[in-house]
């Protein structure tokens, strides 16, 4: 009888089925997360297991380090720059891909490619595209008569940042477009028709009716875009390796260089902790959106 009783206890079954997932998340995400913060206050190295409290030593060291300052600035510039580009392009692309036209399925397949390809493989392809000798971009610009000198895409600090922004925008665009499309599809048709009946043209409809309604969805796209861009290691690591002369590091690549390659776990952790402000902003915004959606659903 008791076995049957347990088999019908929803609370017991619920806890048992949830437990492995919860355990995995707590032990292998939660604990390491706090360990990352703890390590940032220590002088731990990869070589030995012993470590001592270092207070704000690591933070003092990196904040006074011009390479870190530059990496922090680059992280902000790349994230803001690429996401600004993505918002504009994704809104435009969604307007195109909501229409029906011949070959749309194929066009959509091509549009989605950058999201499907592994970051590291996309980055190596772009490294080849930006090659100092064989860059096909340079050839095309030269053949079109637009370029007279030469562009060393990955050899010049400013141009390298532009290249990084282009690649980040390129790889996030499909994701953002598809999310905005999903948002467009969920706008009630009556509202759009009412606007048309009232004589609103395409632009008026876009800016005064659709975009305000799309705001929550565009926000979701941007939030994920921010997380993907600010925390990405692969693009910069492969494209420039932080060079030339440490000018294009972002927080993840510098954390990797110091913490893993340089074996200074404390400093690596401290650099990575500076990703937290990006993530906290995103998490708070998401929670607000989710609450609004909950209220709206009632």
């Amino acid at each position: 009888m008791t076995r049957r009783a347990v088999a019908d206890r929803e609370d017991v079954l619920g806890v048992l089925m949830l437990a492995p997932s919860l355990a995995y998340v707590i032990l292998l995400v939660g604990v390491p997360f706090f360990l990352a913060i703890l390590l940032s206050f220590s002088n731990a190295t990869a070589g030995s297991l012993r470590f001592e409290w270092a207070g704000f030593g690591n933070y003092g060291a990196i904040l006074g380090d011009p390479i870190f300052q530059r990496a922090l600035r680059n992280s902000v510039v790349v994230t803001v720059g690429s996401q600004a580009l993505v918002v504009v392009l994704a809104t435009a692309a969604a307007q195109v891909f909501r229409a029906t036209f011949r070959g749309k399925r194929f066009a959509r397949f091509i549009l989605l490619l950058p999201w499907a390809v592994p970051v590291s493989l996309a980055a190596i392809a772009w490294t080849w595209i930006f090659d100092s000798t064989f860059s096909v971009i340079n050839w095309t610009l030269k053949a079109a008569g637009l370029l007279h000198g030469w562009l060393y895409w990955l050899g010049d600090p400013a141009l390298a940042l532009v290249a990084i922004i282009i690649v980040q925008a390129w790889r996030i665009l499909p994701f953002a477009t598809v999310i905005v499309l999903a948002g467009l599809a969920s706008i009630p048709q009556e509202i759009v028709e009412a606007a048309i009946v009232d004589g609103a043209g395409f632009w008026r409809r876009l800016f005064q009716v659709e975009l305000p309604l799309l705001l929550p969805v565009v926000t979701v796209a941007v939030l994920f875009g921010v997380v993907y861009t600010a925390t990405d290691l692969g693009v910069v690591y492969i494209l420039t390796g932080g060079g030339p002369a440490n000018t294009t590091h972002v927080l993840p690549t510098l954390a990797f260089q110091r913490g893993i390659l340089g074996a200074d776990l404390g400093q690596g952790a401290a650099i990575a902790v500076f990703l937290l402000p990006f993530l906290i902003v995103v998490a708070v915004a998401m929670l607000r959106l989710a609450r609004r959606a909950e209220v709206g659903a009632r």
């Binding site: 929803e10 492995p20 995400v29 360990l35 590291s120 493989l121 290691l233 776990l265 989710a290």
Partner: protein, 278 residues
């Protein structure tokens, strides 16, 4: 006129998104003397085949590099991580959707939020943990750590998926005398199959794409996965073999692109949460 603008815009987006893949394709099958002509030579058009295409780079990739080994390693990790993820995330998603009552949604969101904690924040403590467990430079490290990325998202996916499955079938089974446990074991699995398929596909794509943890934990060439080995170890001495590199990128992208096309809408439902209704 409006149609022309539409096609022009669609074409523009296709060129921006697709041209690196076209460039992979061209590079893969070009002969070296056609490939390595400096871009300052305007008379030599790099966008087309000036010499007949060749399979040399493909032959080199499969015959003389570790690429086949990396494919095998990647598949081993994919299978192991899929098994772990399905075994852990599917029951959890069911629990949150059907058994947890009011706090299911909140709990699900809490688990989902851990998906936002990035590998680049965790790789430092993980490098310590992996060394302690003796898993450094082994596929075991990847098999242990990758589920930290798949489980949160997949738990959320399964929960959301079950919300859209009517409760009546399970209810009827209980009226017919099944215990709650029997419903879970015998009735629910059939209902969740499409959800499980999405979980498998998401896990497959994530493992194929992951780079940060692989770079942190794996140091010897024969243990690498595709996404790590191709950009890091497919370089001989200082020489990049661009033909073979692009061949590897191309052949890896194709299956992923096809899978993404089929499952994109399901993934998107997971990402947009409550922000999109309908």
């Amino acid at each position: 006129m409006k149609r022309v603008a539409l096609y022009a815009a669609a074409l523009g987006f296709m060129v921006f998104a697709g041209f690196p893949f076209y460039w992979m394709l061209v590079t893969t099958f070009k002969q070296n003397r056609d490939l390595y002509v400096g871009a300052s030579d305007v008379s030599h058009i790099p966008w087309i085949f000036n010499d007949p295409p060749t399979l040399d780079h493909v032959r080199l990739l499969f015959g003389e590099t570790e690429f086949p080994r990396w494919v095998l390693n990647t598949l081993i990790v994919v299978v192991a991580v899929v098994v772990i993820t399905v075994a852990v995330a599917v029951p959890a998603g069911y629990s949150l959707a059907r058994l947890a009552g009011r706090w299911g949604e909140r709990m699900g969101m809490g688990i989902f939020f851990t998906y936002l904690i990035p590998p680049t924040l965790l790789f430092v403590p993980f490098s310590r943990l992996v060394a302690l467990l003796g898993l450094h430079n082994s596929l075991g490290a990847l098999i242990l750590i990758y589920p930290t990325m798949t489980i949160p998202f997949c738990t959320w996916l399964v929960m959301g998926f079950l919300r859209s499955v009517p409760w009546e079938i399970e209810e009827q089974a209980m009226i017919d005398g099944y215990s709650r446990l029997a419903v879970i074991l015998r009735v629910a699995p059939r209902l969740i199959v499409p959800g499980i398929l999405t979980v498998v596909v998401f896990t497959f794509t994530l493992v194929m794409q992951e780079f940060v943890y692989a770079l942190t934990f794996i140091s010897s060439v024969e243990k690498m996965t595709i996404s790590l080995g191709v950009p890091i170890a497919l370089v001989r001495g200082d020489v990049y073999h661009w033909g073979s590199l692009m061949a590897a990128a191309l052949f890896t992208s194709i299956p992923l692109a096809i899978v993404y096309n089929l499952f994109i809408d399901r993934f998107i439902q997971g990402f947009t949460m409550g922000a999109v209704k309908g």
